[in-house]
């Protein structure tokens, strides 16, 4: 059973669809992140679910009810906007209970729910203020409060943290996740920040050009990326993906390493049609392996990031602690066969 289910949902304004046959489902009580670069259609997908845009094709179901043709008010979802969308002429309290007032919830219950939401979010002392008198973090809380009092099963969030500073973002990330768990909401969370998606979500739907690139739990997204795009988008620093021929031709010179690197490569495939992906933290610096030139060294404390060039292509290496590498020096890169991931160069899809 799914709380929110999309099936073949398409939205197009002109010739090119902004959202192209998107299908995924969010189980109840889970946090599903819609991740992707700007313009990938993730916000549009969220607005389609909320009913703020009308789908050109496909069906949207919320709580096993087809809501594709329903107006936003009848869908039973609450939404937090990127801009927070607080009404500037209303006080914090009026902003929070706006939805309840509109739905003719009796006054006593309204006050009750307001009190509870304000308590959860620590807004008790700010209820009489206007949104313009609040800090960014407080405005964010009011926007959350509006979503909480609605007591809907599904909550949609459109880049809720993008207007906050870095430190507050980390705090609010935890807070939203804790809130979602505590209230048992099903949350769809749009973000372009892969760290946010990886740390918060039970399931990540990665989108690109209006389509779903991969729909999987964070760990699977990181460990078994379905495409070169996923491999490069998820993880900081991103995965190194190189044409396999580039690496193997280097290996040719070193007979011993060649077998090691090529172990695990799909059998019967021409290396010219393959790309190999290696996470920076699985690479070892040694006396043997793929020769590379050090282009930059960044010491981060716990580890060091070494940017190298393999046959002119950038290749990142992350080693723990401090590294002795010098800029301009030639180093040799090696990794375990199990750490290498293989992709088809033309379709960019994963090969197992």
């Amino acid at each position: 059973m799914a709380e929110v289910a999309l099936s073949g949902v398409t939205k197009s304004w002109g010739a090119t669809p902004a959202v192209d046959r998107v299908s995924f489902s969010a189980p109840p009580g889970r946090l599903v992140a819609l991740l992707g670069p700007s313009g990938c259609g993730k916000s549009t997908t969220l607005r389609l679910i909320a009913g703020l845009e009308a789908a050109s094709a496909g069906t949207i179901a919320i709580g096993n009810r087809d809501v594709t043709g329903l107006p936003p008010a009848k869908r039973g979802v609450s939404m937090v906007f990127q801009s927070y969308a607080l009404f500037p002429h209303l006080s914090v309290a009026e902003n929070i209970v706006f939805g309840l007032k509109v739905r003719d919830v009796p006054r006593t219950e309204r006050d009750e729910r307001l009190k509870r939401a304000a308590g959860i979010l620590g807004l008790e002392k700010l209820l009489e203020r206007k949104p313009s008198q609040l800090s960014g973090g407080q405005q964010q809380r009011v926007a959350l409060g509006r979503a909480i009092v609605a007591e809907t099963k599904v909550c949609l969030m459109d880049e809720p943290l993008s207007n906050l500073d870095a430190q507050l973002r980390v705090e609010m990330r935890r807070e939203i996740r804790a809130l979602q768990r505590r209230l048992g909401m099903t949350m769809l969370y749009v973000t372009h920040d892969q760290v946010e998606a990886m740390t918060m979500a039970d399931q990540v739907v990665l989108m690109r050009n209006g389509r779903i690139e991969q729909d999987a739990p964070p760990a699977e997204l990181y460990e078994r990326p379905a495409s070169i795009f996923t491999a490069r988008f998820v993880g900081t620093p991103p995965m190194n993906v190189l044409p396999a021929a580039l690496v193997t031709s280097c290996i040719m010179m070193d007979a011993a390493r060649r077998t090691l690197v090529m172990t695990g490569a799909p059998a019967g495939r021409d290396p010219a049609t393959l790309a190999v992906g290696v996470r920076p933290e699985t690479v070892r610096l040694g006396s043997e392996g793929v020769p590379a030139t050090v282009a930059a060294v960044e010491y981060l404390g716990a580890d060091t990031l070494i940017e190298t060039r393999v046959a002119g292509e950038p290749f990142l290496v992350r080693v723990s602690g401090r590294a002795a590498a010098q800029v301009g020096e030639t180093v040799h890169l090696a990794w375990d066969a199990a750490a290498a991931q293989w992709f088809d160069l033309s379709s960019e899809r994963r090969i197992d």
């Binding site: 607005r47 909320a50 009913g51 703020l52 107006p71 936003p72 008010a73 979802v77 609450s78 939404m79 906007f81 990127q82 801009s83 969308a85 009404f87 500037p88 002429h89 706006f98 939805g99 509109v102 739905r103 509006r146 609605a150």
Partner: protein, 270 residues
């Protein structure tokens, strides 16, 4: 103080004095004429002062009071008509994807684009045929057509300045389209719409040409009275009438900068 500093200060003072004179000179002349009972050449100042003409103007049976009432009534009705058009039109222009948006905006500008006398002569002819000449309704329609360019353009800017996400949020929380408009969009656009209403009111209060061609002789407004008074050489009545007309203008200047926010002004005509 050096000679140069003195020269600079003097120049500044002179410039300021010139500016003040250009601004307040005519007003001072008006004020002087309004209290001059007798004033003729070669005297530089009135010969006798008094409030006789004020009494004439404010006499309950006088023309001035009745034409002031007519003026205010017409201005009020003009605002009403302009708002009835500009609120829906402004909202549509700001929110809906209209194919001929620019054309529609320009259409409201047209009454201002041609010499008004040429237009009003023809309007007067048509109004005469359909029985609107010499009626308050006719004058209100002429004033409204004139005021619509301000009210529609400013209303469109005021609605455009309201963040669309606010409306979407209200819809998401369960409000109907009408409720969203009444509780969110309209209150937030109200300052701009208020300013446009004041603008239309003052334009109507001030309007001469249209009233002259369409309203005379049945409908007499304050500017018409001012015209006939000064044509008849009665500068005292003319001055007092002008001063009365000045009151709403000054009030407007004070109100407009409180009501019109910069982000609304910057969207006018977009």
């Amino acid at each position: 103080m050096t000679a140069r500093a003195i020269a600079a200060t003097t120049a500044k003072a002179l410039a300021l004095a010139l500016f003040a004179f250009a601004l307040f000179g005519p007003l001072a002349n008006l004020a002087l004429w309004s209290v001059a009972e007798r004033w003729y050449t070669p005297f530089k100042l009135p010969v006798t002062y008094g409030l006789r003409y004020w009494e004439v103007v404010f006499r309950p049976t006088g023309d001035a009071m009745s034409s002031l009432a007519t003026s205010v009534a017409i201005a009020g009705l003009t605002v009403l008509v302009a708002l009835l058009v500009s609120v829906p039109a402004g909202y549509a222009l700001a929110r809906l994807k209209l194919p001929a948006r620019t054309l529609i905006m320009i259409a409201f500008l047209l009454p201002q684009a041609f010499p008004s006398v040429a237009i009003y002569i023809n309007v007067a002819r048509i109004f005469y045929q359909i029985g609107l000449a010499g009626t308050v309704t006719g004058v209100v329609l002429v004033h409204a057509a004139h005021g619509l360019v301000y009210s529609v353009w400013i209303a469109a800017a005021a609605f455009a300045a309201v963040d669309r996400d606010l409306e979407l949020a209200a819809r998401n929380m369960g409000a109907s389209g009408l409720r969203t408009f009444a509780t969110i969009t309209l209150p937030l656009a109200a300052p701009g719409i208020m300013a446009s209403a004041i603008f239309v009111f003052l334009e109507s209060l001030d309007e001469f040409t249209g009233t002259f061609f369409v309203g005379v002789p049945q409908v007499t407004t304050l500017p018409l009275l001012l015209y006939s008074a000064s044509m008849g050489g009665n500068y005292q009545i003319a001055s007092i009438t002008a001063l009365i007309l000045l009151v709403p203008s000054v009030a407007f200047m004070m109100v407009i900068e409180r009501f019109l926010r910069a982000d609304v002004l910057s969207k006018v005509g977009q």
